[in-house]
Amino acid sequence: MNLLEIEHVTKRFGGLLATNDVTFSIREGEIGFIVGPNGAGKTTLFNLISGVFHPDSGTIRFQGRDISRIRPNQAAELGIGRTFQVVKPLRNLTVLENVMLGAFLRTRSGTKAAEESRGVLRYLQMEKIADSPASGLPLPMLKRLEIARALATRPRLILLDEVMSGLSTAEALALAETLKKLPEWGISAVGGVEHVMQVVMSIADRVVVLDHGTVIAEGTAKEVVHEPRVIEAYLGSKYKELGL
């Protein structure tokens, strides 16, 4: 069954066509990746799904329900978690307290929120730094903190905007290993990346390639990288040489 359905979604900003007639879907338990260069419309798409923007035309469905016009906080309530490209932890609060912010969506009690958050931190291998201040964490940990906060809201779908950017290949692969387990928890994911195809190949059930707001390819990672248009428009000849 499809968890998320994007149907002919178009969003314009003035003269700029940020997303143009985009259609794709994500099934329950799937990990999808939206691949595209900077400015391809990935963040716009995430903002449309999470209610920050509303589409000019087209429909977005989540669990069969039309969510094209919801507000961002309603998206979170329905079970759509998200991370941001620019990490923004709460200064002066500890890692655990930052994650509790997410857990408070499902409970009023601070004790329960802390308990829940410790579980999420354990999953992301961050339990050792739970009580350190969030300011001053290195970037890989900040990226994980963003994910932890979103997971603490107990989403059915998590949107990971540029979750790999700024990470080394080793760090990105380590994060991918962790994300692979999300479906076991009943959580689907849609990530957005510029490159690190190696990582995408290792965990993506479905890949959508965006270029200038338009979907130029969709399918499994294998199918997509063999698509001539993708090789031509985005990956280039250099990628061919890698022999994937």
């Binding site: 961002p72 906080n73 979170a76 307290e97 009023r108 979103a150 603490a152 809201t153």
Partner: protein, 307 residues
């Protein structure tokens, strides 16, 4: 809050209650009243301006609602307790209107909207002589007839204790976390399901209620109020400055700010007369330049660096 902080707050409260046993001078009690009153007002403002990071420069609206509320509701024949309930309700009604509209705006536009609303009320009070007495003013009933200065002082201490306790409880609750999240980044707050508009409004309602009680206390001490005294932008500014000077978004900040600002302005008033405003301005510039996060913010930064 660690145990020693709780002990400090508790003993500070008890010592404050014992002050009238030592201090008998009416003048000194009035200065102390002013310090505690503005500590409470700064703490109330801090919920919106500090924790939620929404710069309100129109808190005179709630302060004036309290002072005028006490005068007008008792004049209408209400018993004192009912007038107190009604004046808190009036301030919260203003908060609902002001917040409902202004919280759609961000940054400087929000601040300007709060100033505008307070100024509308200021102008209304001046121009509705039949209701408010206009510029001539209106008498406010005395809350205390004997040992007035001592009683007002103790009331201000109680109000400060109540706002401190409320702030402490809020800062440890989900509500408090949500306010800080909104201050740090509203987009992130929304992404974890925080209804930012509603959360900010709730903070403003609590803030307005405490501010109105402060206004009622202030009005009753003077026995007579005019619009320029309780609804002017000077009141709004002083409330905001007390909190920012001490450290917005910290529990102790507004108390420290009130102690520094009110005692400094009292000292300078006797030495320099009207020129005390100049000193006041200089003090502000120094704080903005060297302690952008206020006195307590600066102290915290030093403690953190030591660790």
């Amino acid at each position: 809050m660690r145990r020693w902080q709780l002990a400090l707050a508790g003993s500070g409260f008890v010592l404050s209650l014992l002050v009238p046993l030592v201090v008998h001078s009416d003048y000194q009690l009035q200065v102390l009243f002013r310090i505690y009153l503005f500590a409470a007002l700064g703490l109330a403002w801090n919920l919106v301006g500090g924790y939620a990071g929404q710069l309100s420069l129109g808190h005179a609206a709630y302060f004036g609602a309290g002072a005028y509320g006490l005068a007008l509701f008792t004049r209408a024949g209400m018993p004192l307790w009912a007038a107190l309930v009604m004046l808190v309700g009036l301030a919260m009604l203003f908060a609902l209107l002001i917040g409902g509209v202004s919280f759609r705006l961000r940054g400087p536009y929000f601040a300007l909207a709060t100033i505008a609303f307070a100024e509308v009320l200021h102008a209304a009070a001046k121009n509705l002589p039949r209701v408010t007495g206009g510029d001539v003013g209106v008498p406010v009933p005395a809350l205390f007839h004997t040992h007035a200065n001592r009683s007002f002082y103790l009331c201000a201490v109680l109000l400060t204790a109540a706002t401190t306790a409320a702030t402490f409880l809020i800062s440890r609750s989900r509500f408090g976390y949500y306010l800080m999240a909104i201050r740090e980044d509203q987009e992130t707050a929304l992404s974890v399901g925080v209804n930012a508009a509603r959360t900010k409004l709730h903070a403003l309602l609590v803030s307005a209620a405490f501010t109105a009680l402060g206004g009622a206390l202030y009005g009753s001490l003077f026995l007579f109020i005019v619009p320029d005294q309780v609804l002017s932008i000077d009141i709004s500014n002083e409330i905001a400055i007390v909190a920012m000077l001490g450290g917005a978004g910290t529990l102790a900040g507004p108390m420290v700010g009130a102690a520094v600002l009110e005692s400094a302005s009292e000292i300078f008033k006797t030495i320099f007369q009207e020129a005390h405003l100049l000193i006041y301005g200089l003090l502000l510039i120094v704080v903005v330049l060297f302690l952008p996060e206020g006195i307590m913010g600066g102290v915290e930064a030093i403690v953190r660096r030591r660790k």
